[in-house]
């Protein structure tokens, strides 16, 4: 399969001398087209930073970032779904979903067609004229997802998108995301601190831990379909947990 994005020996640090704070060190990551990969690690381990390096929002201080997606009008077809949605509260749902389509020279009609399609994918067509404050947490996160899908990304980066949701809504959205992924064949890189979520969703789980954070290991999940609490994954869970603790740190996980 073709590589869509790659991190080679990426390191990131701020400051210099004794004040130097090292966030990431020597991180390698390969993403193949159509793959669903989860990055798993404790809170504050630099998982979100890794996504931002890929998204070109943060410049790494060492290593190479390669993204095999051609640029169109200065933008690559990749999109980020934020933790807590981060909608723009002064825009209605439709205008929020259209945010990434503005300034591309698209016609109004094209924009609204793509916005409607994206909102339809996340099941929010009926809420198109609502303000963000009128939505539930799950609905807001769906709009965040629609905003990302509207740019028709080849690579979708998701930063703990379901972390703040209640368990039922989270499970629903996880299943919808899997359906969406199997329909659209997009490449997804999904950051989470939840082992079960990572194993349930992804083809591969990349464990990122330590300070500075390094890739501690990479685990393939059993062939799909995945079940929740799948007995096939019990061993995998304990292997991953062992890998996380190898680092000698206290790690705080939801299990």
């Amino acid at each position: 399969m073709a590589i869509i994005a790659e991190l080679l020996g990426v390191g990131l640090s701020y400051g210099s001398g004794a004040d130097r704070v090292r966030i990431l060190e020597n991180c390698d990551l390969h993403l193949e087209r159509g793959e669903f990969v989860a990055i798993l690690g404790p809170s504050g381990a630099g998982k979100s930073t890794l996504l931002r390096v890929l998204m070109d929002l943060v410049k790494p201080s060492a290593g190479d970032v390669r993204v095999e997606i051609p640029e169109h009008r200065g933008r690559r077809r990749m999109a980020l779904v934020f933790q807590d949605a981060k909608l723009l509260p002064w825009r209605k749902v439709s205008a929020n979903a259209a945010f990434g389509l503005e300034g591309l020279g698209l016609s109004r009609r094209e924009i609204s067609t793509r916005v409607e399609a994206a909102l339809d994918l996340v099941g929010l067509s009926a809420q198109i004229d609502r303000w963000p404050h009128q939505l539930s947490g799950g609905q807001r996160q769906r709009v965040g997802l629609a905003r990302a899908l509207a740019v028709e990304p080849e690579l979708l980066l998701m930063d703990e998108p379901f972390g703040a949701l209640d368990a039922i809504t989270r499970a629903d959205l996880q299943d919808e995301l899997l359906t969406l992924w199997s329909r659209t064949q997009k490449t997804i890189l999904f950051v989470t601190h939840d082992i079960d979520e990572a194993i349930y969703l992804a083809d591969r789980v990349v464990v990122l831990a330590g300070s500075p954070a390094r890739v501690q290991g990479c685990f393939a999940t059993p062939p799909r379909p995945h079940l929740r609490s799948d007995p096939r994954t019990w061993r995998l869970v304990s292997e991953i947990r062992a890998k996380l603790q190898e680092d000698g740190e206290l790690v705080d996980f939801e299990i």
Binding site: L57, K86, P89, F99, G100, E102, H133
Partner: protein, 270 residues
Amino acid sequence: MTLAAPTRSASRVWRGISSFGGAATPHLLAALGLILFFTGWEIAARLNPSLSALIPMPSQIPRAWLDEISGGYWLAAVRNSLSHYLIGVAIGSILGVAFGLVCGVLPWFESLLAGLVRLLRPIPGLAWVPFAILWFGLSSTAAAFVIAIAVFWINFYAAFGAVQAIDRDLMEVARAFGHGGFFGRLFKIALPAATPGILAGVRTGLGQAWMSVVAAELFGVPGIGARMMQAASLLATDLVVVYMLTMALLYAITDILFVAVRRRLTAWQS
């Protein structure tokens, strides 16, 4: 028993007042307060005829107001003052908001202006009156200039503070979706996100500007302030009060218009 009786009847009266009209009660009380104020004033003025040169009786005001209107002075003064007010407020608000926004979005620009702001900010708008008269004479432009300076600072700080208070993550959202350039951050994030804060500044400016209108006109630029000075020099205190009330009226009208506009612009807030 005898002591408790009046208290109980008073509380019954009070309950009567507060149940009367339900939600309208505060308005009724406000009207009552006004009536009490003017009645007290009228009585005090009538009991002390020697004060008549210093303070008018409220009962004289409507007559004086009507005379002033029929003489054509009132409308001319209001028209003059309104034109100073509107031009000064518009220029001061637009420039203040623009500079405040750009300072909020571009840290280097803010640093560049920081010293200048610290130098000029403490100088009140009225301290510019000598220059206003030197540069523009006793003209409408001079009055508008002084008003604009006072309004500028209010709006500058309101807009700058509002941009500083924006959730930084929204700027990252802008960058992630291809709007990370200066104009993208300014028009797609800073301006809409700061709108409530900017409008609060505009509203303060609308009120403060009336103060500057009077002050600027006291120096002789025709308008409400100048007319008040003329009236005071002739001891026509009733006319002074007419124009004080006129300003209160004009302020109330601008504020009502403002609130209507704000409701449209910030419909997205819960």
